[in-house]
């Protein structure tokens, strides 16, 4: 698909449509949708901003490319004055007092926020069922899960309720729902986009990223949000990726992880489709190398050990005193405990308890520190791989989306379904889901800070697969 942003920009500039009519139309479909993708609508704000864009156009003023473009925001980002619930009971009445840097940059560019989008509570899930707003239904087949945790964002983009949406990816939360709903979803290099104002899940892998129907829209939105931010000291400087730069691909060698494809867990069709994609690349003269990698259970266990430890720390502030819906009890300690016990979901509690287990004395050496050492090895492995190949290609998921309700019955199966996404998070690598190659798409990964190469190869794949 071509850029929706550019198409709408042209329609606005040539006065084929008004921004107000566009925003009204999108708000209406969001309001009526039955996919549970919406936590709250930002109708007053959106219509006010749309009127300003229309006034500018009427006055003959030039508007920027993103000016008047409606977008969605996963409900874990601060936007001043809006509810930011993280799809949780604990924060269901919480109002952001400030705005996240990534969102502010989009506002500064004139984009119009329409909706805070449903997701797994605090990002804890791979299906968008762990939410107080009802399980998000897949855009293609509503009996199936939307994926997660940025499920509402993926569905809104896939159904064209939003032109693009901003998700958050800690272990696959943008890439997996993008794959399940047949759209693009990008997790940039860690630090390329400031995390300031993103509710922290696991700070060492949390990434801000766009979901969109076209690669060009991913590029446009990525450029606007990128950059070093003094409010997030892990953020990094980066250069803009131009449309011309991604028009051609310098990729000569592609690798894939043999054990991902030879695993018993992979669906036969996903495997066949992936291998067929590899053959098409070879036919185009691309050299393909099979790579050895860590076993899936090591990847998943390392990721969840570290993510749970970090979320236990990050969510300790949610005690009803610093943040959240307080439930009074006889003393402070009881107030904390009752507030957290009654307001956190079962999955969130499971992860907090797991995190405190691995951080506690006697277990940290055996599990947490060992997990850190394994992460180092995983990163070293990636460094060696990218000395041999330009790009690593992988399926997004081992199988197709499960039915709504199935993931909640078996948390271990849900954790293991993240096998193909979590490794790239641990490596902090730029990884893009493209809606091609298998029924849940393909992941394109490059070395750290090589985000441009990912987009170049994705552009090449558009005409190749």
């Amino acid at each position: 698909m071509d850029s929706q942003i550019k198409k709408i920009h042209q329609q606005l500039v040539s006065k084929q449509i008004t921004c107000t009519a566009l925003v009204q139309e999108k708000l209406e479909v969001l309001k009526q949708n039955t996919h549970n993708s919406v936590n709250s609508l930002l109708d007053t704000l959106a219509l006010d901003l749309a009127a300003k864009v229309d006034a500018k156009i009427a006055n003959g003023e030039t508007i920027g490319l993103l000016e008047g473009i409606p977008f969605g925001i996963k409900d874990v980002y601060m936007l001043q004055g809006t509810y930011t619930t993280a799809s949780s009971d604990l924060l269901k009445n919480y109002k952001s007092s400030y705005t996240a840097t990534a969102i502010q940059k989009l506002l500064d560019a004139g984009a119009i926020p329409l909706v805070k989008e449903n997701c797994d509570s605090f990002g804890h899930g791979s299906s968008s069922e762990n939410t107080i707003f009802g399980a998000v239904k897949n855009a293609v087949n509503p009996e199936l899960v939307a994926g997660g945790s940025s499920g509402g964002s993926a569905v809104n983009v896939a159904k064209e309720y939003t032109v693009f949406s901003i998700g958050g990816d800690t272990g696959g939360s943008i890439r997996q729902p993008a794959g399940y709903n047949h759209i693009y979803g990008f997790k940039p290099t860690y630090g390329r986009i400031s995390r300031f104002g993103l509710m922290a899940y696991a700070s060492s892998t949390d990434c801000v990223g766009p979901l969109a129907k076209s690669l060009e829209d991913i590029r446009i939105v990525l450029n606007v949000m990128s950059g070093k931010d003094s409010k997030d000291q892990t953020s990094i400087a980066s250069t803009e990726i131009s449309e011309e730069a991604i028009a051609t691909s310098p990729v000569k060698k592609v690798g894939y992880f043999k054990n991902f494809i030879e695993s018993d867990a992979i669906d036969a069709q996903v495997k066949a489709d992936f291998l067929a994609s590899i053959e098409k690349l070879k036919a185009k003269g691309i050299a393909v190398k099979e790579l050895d990698f860590f076993k899936s259970d090591i990847l998943v266990s390392t990721y969840y050990t570290l993510a749970m430890a970090e979320t236990a720390s990050n969510l300790s502030r949610l005690d009803g005193t610093n943040y959240g819906n307080r439930i009074e009890a006889e003393n402070l300690i009881e107030t904390y405990a009752v507030t957290r016990s009654e307001n956190f979901s079962e999955e969130t509690k499971r992860r907090i308890v797991g995190g405190n287990q691995v951080l506690s004395q006697g277990f940290s050496d055996e599990i947490y520190l060992k997990g850190l050492a394994l992460r180092d090895q995983i990163s070293e492995n990636f460094s060696k791989d990218f000395a041999a190949v330009d790009i690593i290609l992988s399926p997004v998921t081992p199988s197709t989306p499960p039915k709504i309700g199935d993931s909640l019955k078996d948390p271990l199966a849900m954790y293991l379904s993240d096998a193909y996404t979590v490794g790239f998070s641990l490596g902090q690598l730029p990884t893009l889901t493209v809606p091609q190659g298998t029924s849940t798409g393909l992941q394109i990964t490059a070395a750290k800070n090589n985000d441009e190469l990912v987009l170049q190869f994705a552009n090449f794949l558009k005409d190749t697969l």
């Binding site: 969840y304 050990t305 009074e328 180092d376």
Partner: protein, 89 residues
């Protein structure tokens, strides 16, 4: 004094118990054999160098920011926001 703290106390979650599913993940780590069991060589260095630290500045909250903070905790007593009792005996 018994210094052992159970996960329900550590997590401030009543009746919390370790999960079987999560323990299975941890068992994989326990049984793994890293070639270099030394987390001090962490290659994911996200720390900021001393020369790149930001200035230590106090930024006053805007009136609007203050308003939303107060909205999140609306109880007031003698002009102060009421949070849970700070010190227990």
């Amino acid at each position: 004094m018994n210094k052992t703290m159970t996960v329900d106390i550590l997590s401030s979650i009543k009746g919390a118990q370790p999960s079987e599913s999560v323990n299975k993940l941890f068992d994989v780590i326990k049984n793994a054999v890293p070639t270099n069991n030394n987390a001090a060589t962490n290659v994911n260095r996200n720390c900021v160098s001393v020369s790149d630290l930001r200035e230590d500045v106090v930024i006053a909250s805007s009136a609007m920011e203050k308003r939303f903070i107060i909205e999140n905790f609306p109880n007031k007593k003698n002009g102060f926001l009421v949070v849970a009792k700070v010190i227990e005996g």
